[in-house]
Subunit: 266 residues, 2 copies
């Protein structure tokens, strides 16, 4: 469907929250995995896909990076950054058990300790926790505000997470966007001394700031790597030409800006 | 205990397999998490700990990297590399269900498809799968050869994984080792243009080969990173002095050699 966006589900997930910010009139289709979202773009079930790329505490989302590396003709069109705010929500005033995803339980450790609930039960997603709390009169959920609203739960406490926790999402499609505040590249390097140093030298020569660099294993050859970088600025042909001299492969993955609530979509 | 090694359990795990290679007469104590292993060294419950650091398909083990970064006075003393070979094992000749860990099921996708079992059931570890197969007459496990032996299972097929899959483990203690074929460093860099380039330049000047570089988020400041590197050679004071000029912090994490079955222990 040309007018649809696939996203990493389930309904009420933080990806769902991110995709509603940019959805406009488009149809939203949840998928069970990141690879499922990416495949739905390749197979033209959806024109766009929304997936998480990085969390400020946990680091890169490897499944997203690996899909960007192994699949061609996919481009990042937009970046969406949202704070991972968790709420405590329930149908009733009284409850003694709490459902949540193990990561969310970890994130709210101090809050949970202070509240001393009888039982904290890990389940497969914060959305599933909200669903369970909607049917169990003795239970609450630690979940997103969106999941609490979807399952008609009353919110007792907001922002109960211990630390600042932000996740970045990418809107991805087959359309190459060449302008934005940032761009992404993926490259591999020769297996010789100083090769990464020489690659970074090309960015320095061109006065281009790197925002981040992540390395990931090349699954085909143990202990060899590909590199994912984000830099400030647009697609830059001169940089790409220079990089092609010092890399074994280099692939442009799109230029994009950050969505903010005040923006019109692009 | 001065004569004990903690390792990432449970009994029959690949960490258990790795630690038995270097255990000699020492007492082996399984721990439930990597952080549990590391804490047991800090608190002197164990004199050494064995944890996974990197897998050739999945990349770095973030919990190990973060512990090396956040905890001081821990040093890598030895590297142990083992192939993650999986076996199909059962008590009986006939079985129609198979237990395993989700990662192991993923790793044996082609084999499982060819065998067309009635049911493949994910459980929390390959060791737990072997334990279940030892009590359920209709079940087999996909597990390590060691777990199959511990739970008295008969091995039907070996090396059933689809791809070459190797995991590296580190033996860690409070003792700083300064000689070996490789060394590890962790550093942070100034938030300015070209800073990583300048750090890598110091390795290049000293003709020191980098084997790998991984970046991980500084949890305290969103979108800032620390870097973990492994290089060829011993502790090098001149390199460390040069790095201190271009980093905001640099920490030596030990020099070490790779254990092979033919070696005496060190």
């Amino acid at each position: 469907m040309s007018n649809s966006i696939c996203f990493l589900g389930p309904i009420g997930s933080f990806s769902h929250q991110a995709v509603t910010m940019v959805a406009e009139e488009k149809v939203l289709i949840p998928k069970g995995t990141i690879t499922g979202v990416i495949n739905s773009i390749s197979e033209e079930e959806c024109s766009e896909g929304l997936v998480p790329i990085e969390n400020s505490l946990e680091g890169p989302v490897n499944e997203t990076l690996d899909n960007l590396f192994y699949k061609e003709n996919l481009f990042i069109n937009l970046e969406i950054e949202i704070p991972i705010n968790l709420v405590l929500a329930s149908k009733n005033d009284k409850f003694n058990i709490v459902y949540s995803h193990p990561h969310a339980i970890q994130e709210c450790r101090d809050y949970i300790r202070r509240k001393s609930f009888d039982k904290v039960i890990p389940v497969e997603s914060t959305s599933r926790a909200a669903e369970l709390a909607s049917t169990d009169p003795n239970a609450a959920a630690i979940c997103s505000e969106m999941a609490a609203r979807i399952y008609n739960l009353r919110i007792f406490d907001q922002n109960i997470e211990d630390n600042v926790n932000i996740t970045r999402f990418f809107l991805i499609s087959k359309k190459e966007t060449r302008e934005g505040t940032k761009s992404s590249l993926i490259f591999t390097i020769p297996h010789e001394s100083g090769s990464l140093y020489h690659v970074l030298g090309k960015f320095y020569e061109e006065k281009i700031n790197l925002n981040m660099i992540y390395s990931r294993p090349l699954k085909s050859i143990p202990w060899r790597y590909y590199f994912y970088v984000e830099y400030e600025g647009n697609k830059n042909e001169r940089l790409l030409n220079k990089l092609s001299e010092v890399t074994t492969s280099v692939s442009f993955k799109g230029s994009y800006s950050k969505f903010s609530n005040n923006d019109s979509r692009f």
